[in-house]
Amino acid sequence: MGTISLKNINKSFGSTEVLKQLSLDIQDGEFLTLVGPSGCGKSTLLKIIAGLEQQNSGDVIIDDKNVNSTRASKRDLAMVFQSYALYPHLTVRKNLETPLKLRDYSFVERLPLIGNFVPSRKEKKKSIDDLVFKTSETLKITELLDRKPGQLSGGQRQRAALGRAMVREPVAFLMDEPLSNLDAALRVHMRSELSELHNSLKTTFIYVTHDQAEALTMSTRMAVMIDGELLQLDTPSEVYNNPSSLRVAEFVGSPKINTFAAQISSDGSVEFMGIKLERKFNTNSQKALVAVRPEHLEITKDSNKPAFEATVSYRENLGSDIFYHVQVNQSESKIIVRGSPQAGLISNGETVRISPSHAEAMLFETSGERIR
C-alpha cells in the first residue's frame, strides 16, 4: 500500500509563507508529479512528506497513519535527490547496502569488527547481498557495483541513486528533480525508463519537477503548484487541454499559450482581434482574456476564414515544427504560432493571416479564473 494524504499543510520560513493550506490525496501506485516554477514550494512539500522538514500545521497521513511525529527513516519512504547524494567515499555496492544495513542490522551487528562475530549477521548479510544484486540487475548497474560515485557518469550515478532508493522496497518513492542534472538526450531516455520502472514496481511515485514536459510525459496525475498553492490536480491531458486558471494554462505547455484581450457583449458572445467566437459564454464581465495555444493558431491563405494580420518577427525551426513569433501591431506583445515545415518557410518581415481554431479557444476572467 502507498496512499499518502496531506491535510491543510502550512509552512513558512520566517515571514515568507511557502505552503498555504495545501491538501492533496495521492493514490496507491500512482505516478504523481508536483510541477511548478522554481520557488513554488514543491520541494519543501516533498521534504515535509519525507519527514526532513516539519510543517507548521496540518497533517501528513501515510497508509491511514498520521506520521507527523514519525522520523524520516521510520516513514518507509525512499528519496532520490537532484545531486544524487551518493556517499562519495563508498562504492556503489556499499551505497546500496547502507539503507538495508541500517534497517536490518541490530546495533551490535553494525559495529565494525565485533559485528562480524554475531551469528545472526551472516544470514542477514546474505539477504542483503541478494537484494543488492537483484536491484542492480533491474537497473543494469551490476558491473558498476565496485566503483565509487566519482568514477561514474551522470546517468550511471542517477541509476545508482535510484538503486539505493529501490533496495528497501519502500511504500513510496520521492524524487526531487532527479533528471535535471543530466544532459538533454539522456533526460529524455531516463523519462521512459522511469515510466517503465514505475510500471514494473507498481509503487507510488511522487515526482517533483519544474519541467512541465517531464510532468506531461510521465505522470498518471499532475499537481500544478504556483506560489505555495495547489492550482490543479488532474491527468496531464486534462491539465493541458482544460486548465482551471490562466496561470496553469500559461505554465503548462511550451511555447507558452497566447493571450488576447477580448470583449464580451451582453448576449455572451466573445470578440477578440476582430474575430467572433462561435461559442457563447455565460458571464457578467465585459472584458476577458482569450487564450489559444500556438498549435491552435493557423497561418492561412484562405480569405474566407476569420483571421487577423500579423508580421513575422522571428522564426524557431525545430525540424518537426516551426514556431513563428509574430507581431500583431506595434503596441501588442508578440504571439507564437505553430507552422508546419511542409507549408514552406515564411521569412522574417512577411505579413501573414492568422486564424484561430474556435473549438480550442479558452476564455478567462481578467483576474485569471476560467470562464466555461
Binding site: 545531486s83 551518493l86 562519495p88 539503507p99 566519482g150 542534472n181
Partner: protein, 297 residues
C-alpha cells in the same frame, strides 16, 4: 618589449629566491653542523659535510668512555653522542603520544560541534558561532597562568594530561571544519537521514570521510604546532625528564661544560625535525588524493 617582460619577471623571482634562502639557510647550517667536526664548525670550513677524518673526541673521553670508543668519523660521533647524552627516542615517543592524542581528541570534539554549527538549526546557533570566533582571538599566553593554576590544583602538573588537556578543544578546528561542512550539500545529509542514520552516525560515517582533505589540513596545523611547542611543556613539565617533549629535550644540550659542542646538538635537532618533514611529505601526497576522492560535484 620581450626583454622588459623578462626583467619584470626576474625581479619577482629574485625576491622569491632571497625569501627561500632566508628560510633554507638555517636548515642547511643545521644539517651541515650535525655532520662536521667541532674544529670545522668553528673555523667555518669543510663545506656541507666536512673532511670526515677519523679522530678522537675529547668531550667523549671526559664523559668516561675509553679512547677506543671515542674514535670515529665526526658525523657518526655527533649522532651517537647525541643519543648517548639524552634519551632522544623517549622524547620522540613523548612528542608522538602528545601530538597524536591532542589531534584525535580535537577531532572527536570539533567534528560534532562544527556539524551542529553548520547543518543543524537551533536557537542561538549564530551566537555560539560568534563565541567560537571570539575564542580565536584569545592568545594562549594570556590564559597560561590560570590554566597552570587549575592544573596544579588538580594535581596534574608533570603528567601527560597536563600536556594534552588544555589543547583538546580547538576553536580553530571547529571553525575550519564548520566552514568546510557549509560546502557539503544538505542533500547528502538528507539522504543519510532517509537511510536511517542518526545524527552521530552522520557525523562519523558521512561527514568524517567527506571531510578528510580538510582534516588533513587541520592535522598539519595541529601536529606542527604541538610538536614544536616549547612554551607550554616548559610550564607544566617541571622536573620529570621522562615526560620531556622533543623541544624540551633539545634544551638539554644547552649550557654545561661542553656547551660549545655544536655537532651533537645539531644532530639532536635534525633527529627531532625529521619526523615532521617526513609526515609533511606523506601528508602532502594524501592531501591531493583526498581532494580528488570526494567525487562530489
Amino acid at each position: 618589449m620581450l626583454a622588459r617582460h623578462y626583467i619584470g619577471e626576474s625581479w619577482k623571482h629574485g625576491l622569491l629566491i632571497i625569501g627561500a634562502l632566508i628560510v633554507l639557510i638555517p636548515f642547511y647550517m643545521m644539517v651541515s653542523m650535525s655532520l662536521k667536526s667541532q674544529q670545522e664548525i668553528q673555523s667555518i670550513s669543510g663545506g656541507l659535510v666536512g673532511a670526515q677524518e677519523i679522530q678522537t673526541f675529547p668531550v667523549c673521553t671526559k664523559h668516561g668512555y675509553t679512547e677506543e670508543v671515542c674514535t670515529m668519523r665526526p658525523y657518526k660521533y655527533n649522532f651517537w653522542f647525541a643519543f648517548k647524552k639524552a634519551p632522544i627516542p623517549r622524547y620522540l615517543m613523548n612528542g608522538l603520544i602528545v601530538t597524536v592524542s591532542i589531534f584525535l581528541i580535537q577531532v572527536l570534539i570539533a567534528l560534532p560541534c562544527s556539524y551542529a554549527l553548520a547543518k543543524l538549526r537551533f536557537k542561538g546557533r549564530e551566537f555560539v558561532f560568534s563565541m567560537v570566533l571570539f575564542c580565536l582571538l584569545i592568545p594562549v599566553h594570556a590564559i597560561a597562568l590560570p590554566l597552570y593554576v587549575m592544573l596544579a590544583k588538580a594535581g596534574l602538573v608533570d603528567t601527560y594530561a597536563a600536556l594534552i588537556i588544555p589543547w583538546t578543544i580547538s576553536v580553530f578546528g571547529i571553525f575550519l571544519m564548520r566552514q568546510f561542512f557549509m560546502t557539503v550539500p544538505d542533500e547528502l545529509i538528507d539522504a543519510a537521514r532517509m537511510d536511517g542514520m542518526g545524527e552521530y552516525s552522520i557525523v562519523w560515517k558521512v561527514m568524517l570521510p567527506v571531510a578528510i582533505p580538510a582534516l588533513l589540513a587541520f592535522a598539519i596545523f595541529s601536529v606542527v604546532a604541538h610538536w614544536n611547542d616549547y612554551f607550554w611543556p616548559r610550564i607544566v613539565i617541571t622536573g620529570n625528564r621522562d615526560l620531556f617533549t622533543p623541544p624540551l629535550g633539545i634544551r638539554e644540550f644547552r649550557g654545561g661544560i661542553d656547551s660549545d659542542e655544536f655537532g651533537p646538538m645539531m644532530a639532536s635537532i635534525v633527529t627531532v625535525t625529521i619526523p615532521l618533514i617526513v609526515a609533511f611529505i606523506v601528508a602532502q601526497k594524501r592531501f591531493v588524493e583526498g581532494i580528488t576522492m570526494t567525487g562530489m560535484k
